[in-house]
Structures are given as structure tokens and as C-alpha cells.
Assembly symmetry: C2
Homo-oligomer: 334 residues x 2
């Protein structure tokens, strides 16, 4: 295992320390793995989180216009209910808290338990479960579809809606609308190594790829020979487009998300093909996001997410945010 | 070679296509590898560039408040003079153009030749050469010190100064002030593979690292056993801090830059130690930037850059920009 770390057991702790010293607009709730905004606003709180190893998710999305708090579990391990509860308590300003949960068995169980505990304390809590991955129905990690990079669109839209002062139920419904309209699929060229394990999560041959891979090194739908970038994008888009389905005339946001060690150049090469395929099908691209948004440690590979937009979602997608991991949108016409 | 590409010969071309379709605020000058702002302002133009493979450098820094144009050579290969000339001609609005060149023999030669050709056409051109890497004096790529991630600070400050309407000579002097005050050093855990070569640039053992590595897979100052993140940071900072030298009471901007496949989590772990060392030496951190700013394809490793600031540089560092690869600074108090 060749990693730039100190003690394996301190991985998440030290990462969070290094994160908060870089960013004065966030702080760590003392004695926890919870990151919150330094200044909380009088509005509905939005909290997400999950296992670590997906950086910049989830702490990178904490900031004005996106999340109020993010809970970091150990690598690829759900945060415990008491940590989630701490996040809910901290961000709650009396107007309730929305939990954005990715659909993994551990996450759903622990976030729901925390929600119940918070409700018992009189805090209003609602929740949504993101399941954007069209690749598999059920895996070692979950029952039903997994939540992957499309979750970031939920953070953005729900966060902006909360910032606009909407009620908890309205923000929750808007998050559900994003979930209903976002589809993703990923593929991997290489495994990743969880620090506490020390061994790669799986083995792939020099010219093999895993299609439909998750964000924890868990398997996808099939192992195929490595082919061109264009054919790889075609493969992913065929499944994504037919799933919703997306149709001619639809307007979409595109996310081309690197899994951790795929060069940005290769992500842009993939985006070229995404753009071509969508254009050929009469689907209009409203915004494109290319980069690392929801990673899987140092895995090589990428995912594509499409979000079918309406005017309401467009407005919240474009609303200003200070979250450090949301791209500088100035160049997109804001 | 396991990469998500199509034809090797189309790598840069397709990457640039995928870049411009993602970003409406930039365009590609037809028939060239030059990216410019879609809307050019009446002001001094700032142009940078170099070999590809360093994404998001350099095209990601094109936008309001940073570069007006970026020239992309083939991977790890200087752009040709005619391409640089095309960038100068396109961005020039009659107030002259500043070239920001990284100190590599090919880049310096080709950018200077382009500057001479542009001057012969009556365009005022000045240039600066960035040489922030404290690791080596001379390598296979250059005479003197190399330009690495610290170059991004030059783009930011010079770009903001040009946006503020300063004259060509004033912008050039400010860029020189940044160069005089920025120091960097990097290390690598793994090599990278140039698509056209198909083979890793060097071999490293499972527990070896290369200290002082450049951004083209060229060697550093010594090959050492892999040690902890903290000790690695100590090693780099010892050389960086003593070079300027940085002293107690200085105020600095920190950049912890991933080389391509180092997880963001490991960069934050490194930043924690950077912060500790600077604090212990009485050096104040004004801003911290953690992410991928100047990469070397899929190399694993990172570099640390420190820029000693004064009020003038702070102002331009904090000035707004729309360049997509400059972080969303909202959370830093803007």
C-alpha cells in the first residue's frame, strides 16, 4: 500500500483537521467527525455525509448555498447515528433539518436512527435517499440502486432552496424531484485500496475494465475489455438515457465525474463524446460539470450523471454558493 | 497503457473540444490549440500555456480575472511559436500582452520567438519566466529552476492586475514580484505514462518515492524510502522555507497541489502538517488552496507552494475571477 498517510487509524481525523485549517468558513464540531458552516443561517438545515474516501464529498459541499453540515464516517463506512445526530443538533435553527442520504444499507439505517433520535428531542427532520446509479439493483453495499455522483446535484438544489428560505417539506420535495430526474453510471479502470485493509478491493487485468462500478470498489454489471473512450461513453449513456428515459427536447445538466486518479484531460475527452451523443439525440445541455465530485479514493475511472432540468431546478442549480468543492461558476454566465 | 482515450494523436485535440463544450465562457481559436475568453476586455492581455498533461493548467485558468488565453502543446511538449503567436494576436486589444512562461527550455524558446514575431507586427509583448521549484537547478527539461505549481499564483495575480486596468509594464512587474516570492517543491509516488510513449516515465519500487520531482516525470533530487505524510511534508517545507527564506511574521498563501492521482483526502492530511509547521515557525497562513492545480497526468504525489504576500498581492489574489479551475472563493470571506 503506497499512500501519503500517517497512522491508518488517524486517516479521517487528520483529513478533517487539514480540511478545516484550509477553510475558515467551516468548522469541526469538537470531538466529532462533523463539519458545519462556521456561521449558520436562520433557515432549514441540510445535512449529508457517508463514508470517507469520496472527497471532496461530503465536507467540500458545506457552505452558503449548499450543505450546512457533513458527517464523515471511516473510509467507506457509514457514520454512526450519534455522529449524524450531532450534525442535526448543531445545524438545526428551529426550522428543521433535511438529511440527504445515499442509498447504502448502513447509511440509511444510521441516518434514520439519528433522525428518530433527533425527533425524540423535538427537532423536525425529513430525509431523502438518493439512488441515481442505473447499473445495479442491489449489491454487497445496498438493496436497490446505489447513490453515487448525482447526489451532488441534490446537495446543490436542496441547499439553494433552503437558502432561499423554503420550508422543510418544500425543500424535501425539491430534493425528491432532483432524485426522480437524475441518473448516473460509472466504470473503473483500476481498484482502490482502503487504508485499513491495505489491499486493492479487486483485481483487474491490464486490458480489462469494470462497467457499472460503484464508489466503494464494489463490482459493477460486467467486466469488459478496455475499449476507446468514445465507446465507453456510448456504453454508459445508452443505459443512462434509456432509464429515465431522457428524450429529445429535454434540457439536462451533465456531470463527468473522475473516480480519483483519472486525469482531467481524459474526463474532458469523455465529455466531448457525451456532448456529441446528447446533441445527436436532440437533448440540450444546460450546464456541464467536469472534475472530481464523488471519488473512490485513488480508483481510475469515471461516471456520467445526467439531471433532467425544469426552470425551478435550473434556478437553484445556478444559485450562488460558497461551498469550496462546487465549481467556480462565474464563467457560466452567473 | 490503460487510459480512457481514443486515438493517441487526437488526445489534445479532443481534450480541448471537450473543454470548450463544457464552458461557454471560452472558445477555441479555430484551427489552433489556443483557448481564449469568448469575450475579450479592453485591457492588457495575459497569456500562458505549455505542454498538455498538466490539466487544469493552463486552459482552466482562462476567464475573467485570470488569463485571456492559454496555448496547449502536445503532452509534455512546448506549443510551437505559431500557436503562441496566434494567442497573442487574438487576445491583444491594443494594450499589449504579457506572456507567463514556465521555465523549460522549449517553452522559453518558443514563447520568446512568438513574442519577437508579434513585436514585428507591432504588438507590444512582455514576458515573465516562472521558476518556483527549489528542488533542482537544471534538469533534462531546463536550465535553471523549473516552473511548477507556483505558476498558478502568477496567473491569478497578473490576471487580476490586468483586469484592474493596469499597464503592461505594471502587470509584468507585479508578476515578477510574485515570482520573486513564490517557492515550491514536489514529490512523486508513481510515474505517469505519456500517451504517445505508452510506457511509464520511470520505475519506482513499492516503497520508494522520488523527492523534488518535476511535472513531466523528470527526476528529482533523491530517491528515498516512502515515509509518513508528516515526514514528507517536513522534508519539502525544510527546503522551501529556507530558500526564500520565509521568516517569522511572514504572511503566505499555501498551495497543496495533487499531481494527478493522489486522493484529495491525502492532500488534506498533508495540509494539516503544512499548517502545523508554519504555525510553529510563526508564519501566518492567509489563504490555503488544496486540490489539483498543475498536474502531471496520472502521477501520484503532490507539491507544496508558498507565496509570501504583501497587501498588493493579497488584493489581487482575492479579486474575483470566473476561471473555472480557480476555486470557488466565496467561503474564504470574499
Amino acid at each position: 500500500m503506497k499512500k501519503l498517510i500517517n497512522e491508518v487509524g488517524e486517516y479521517v481525523n487528520e483529513m478533517l483537521d487539514g480540511f478545516v485549517v484550509a477553510l475558515p468558513a467551516v468548522r469541526r464540531v469538537e470531538g466529532t467527525q462533523v463539519i458545519v458552516r462556521s456561521q449558520l443561517a436562520q433557515k432549514v438545515g441540510v445535512v449529508s455525509g457517508g463514508g470517507s474516501g469520496h472527497e471532496p464529498a461530503h465536507a467540500g459541499y458545506v457552505g452558503y448555498g449548499m450543505l450546512d453540515g457533513a458527517v464523515a464516517g471511516e473510509v467507506f463506512t457509514s457514520p454512526t447515528p450519534d455522529q449524524v445526530l450531532e450534525a442535526i443538533r448543531t445545524v438545526n435553527q428551529g426550522q428543521g433539518v433535511l438529511l440527504v442520504i445515499k442509498n447504502y444499507t448502513g447509511d440509511v439505517m444510521n441516518f434514520e436512527m439519528a433522525a428518530d433520535l433527533a425527533r425524540a428531542e423535538g427537532i423536525e427532520v425529513e430525509q431523502v435517499v438518493v439512488n441515481d446509479d442505473v447499473a445495479v439493483d442491489g449489491s454487497t453495499y445496498t438493496v436497490g440502486r446505489r447513490g453515487i455522483a448525482g447526489t451532488v446535484f441534490v446537495h446543490k438544489v436542496a441547499g439553494a432552496a433552503a437558502e432561499a428560505g423554503l420550508s422543510l417539506t418544500t425543500v424535501r420535495k425539491l430534493a425528491e424531484k432532483v432524485i426522480a430526474n437524475v441518473r448516473s453510471m460509472g466504470m473503473g479502470l483500476s481498484p482502490c485500496t482502503v487504508p485499513a485493509n491495505g489491499q486493492p478491493s479487486f483485481e483487474l487485468g491490464e486490458s480489462e475494465v469494470e462497467m457499472g462500478i460503484g464508489i466503494h470498489g464494489e463490482p459493477g454489471i460486467e467486466r469488459l475489455p478496455l475499449t476507446s473512450s468514445d465507446e465507453t461513453v456510448n456504453f454508459l449513456l445508452t443505459r443512462i438515457l434509456s432509464d429515465l428515459p431522457f428524450s429529445k427536447g429535454d434540457e439536462v445538466a451533465v456531470m463527468v465525474n473522475g473516480m480519483g486518479s483519472t486525469p482531467l484531460s481524459e474526463l474532458f475527452i469523455a465529455n466531448r463524446r457525451v456532448s456529441q451523443v446528447l446533441s445527436a439525440q436532440g437533448i440540450n445541455v444546460y450546464r456541464t460539470f467536469v472534475g472530481e465530485f464523488m471519488t473512490s479514493l485513488e480508483m481510475a475511472g469515471f461516471s456520467v450523471s445526467l439531471l433532467k432540468l425544469d426552470d425551478e431546478m435550473k434556478r437553484y442549480l445556478d444559485a450562488p454558493t460558497h461551498a469550496p468543492a462546487w465549481p467556480n461558476m462565474g464563467g457560466l454566465g452567473q
